[in-house]
Symmetry: C2
Subunit: 189 residues, 2 copies
């Protein structure tokens, strides 16, 4: 019930979102952050453990410690009522406009300098392959999700589908942009 609950970092909210779905250890959260969420957010364990400690101190999550196999006890985290309320308030709140960082587009923005047209073509072809691979992965993810059964609002799987669908659309339009460059807008051969 901290009045400062609003000043939670994005990673903190990501962890609250994970714990709202299912409790787990820091190690477990790191793994779950890697696998399905890596398309739009990532963090290393070195960042996760201190952040969990902060959320704990703020009363947004709680933990139960048990003797671990390693030198330190294992901490099983769960979200509190206050944490759930804080996270709920954040999801429909305004999107913080953090500046865009696309190194790829920066390279495009200097691609006119490439003296060798073949090299420019090769670069775009490589980019196309990378985005196409991402698209294929996301399509697979969507298929798996739909195969599990009907997806309805109010369930985690609904959010999963929405996020994957956004990724698919962005990946597809990026592939199409590569094709647009390769067919019409680069010197031929």
């Amino acid at each position: 019930m901290d009045p400062e609950a609003a000043s939670i970092s994005t990673l903190g909210q990501a962890l609250l979102g994970l714990l709202a779905r299912q409790p787990g250890t820091g190690y477990d959260l790191a793994a779950r952050l890697r696998r399905p969420i890596a398309y739009f957010w990532t963090a290393q364990h070195s960042q996760i453990y201190p952040e969990l400690a902060r959320l704990d101190r703020a009363g947004l999550i709680r933990h139960e410690a048990s003797v671990g196999r390693g030198p330190r006890p294992v901490k099983h985290y769960d979200i509190t009522e206050a944490g759930l309320a804080c996270h709920r308030a954040w999801v429909t709140g305004p999107v913080s406009v953090r500046p865009a960082r696309s190194e790829e587009t920066l390279q495009v923005w200097s691609l006119w300098l490439s003296d060798d047209p073949d090299q420019a073509r090769a670069w775009v072809t490589m980019r196309r392959a990378a985005h196409d691979a991402r698209l294929a992965t996301l399509l697979g993810e969507r298929d798996a999700l739909l195969a599990e059964g009907p997806v309805e609002p109010g369930q985690p799987r609904w959010s999963n589908l929405a996020a994957v669908e956004l990724g698919i659309r962005v990946a597809r339009s990026t592939v199409e942009w590569c094709d647009w460059l390769l067919t019409d807008h680069l010197p031929p051969q």
Copy 2:
């Protein structure tokens, strides 16, 4: 002629790209970074001035100082041969895979928690408006570019068009994703 020339930060490459197009002062570069490039990279002047000093020390750019209006001399920067070579090598090099950071998608990923469906609809509608505004700006940018005359490879304007076109496609598909959510995949009313 530093052998360490490969270890230039992304911001450094952005500045080299700006200077490859046209020389200028740090202040000028900050302004040029704000206006057309802000869609895919940004930096504050407090980051730019030290970075220019580093590039200068590495011999990738050079400067001529003249007496300024303020307390310090004005430095007019220009790219060197070594700097141009370093930047050329970077543009067609591999894209460094920096992890995705989309706070917006993170929110979508927890949007299933929203107990009030109206609030979820309002959030998506707000997002749609934001992306639509960005799309409109980019379309205007493209029109202005094409109105200036034909765009051909090997010129800066070719890169400008390519970058804007990518932005347009991504913005458009994101707007379409919002519509997909609003029409079929949110509880009605």
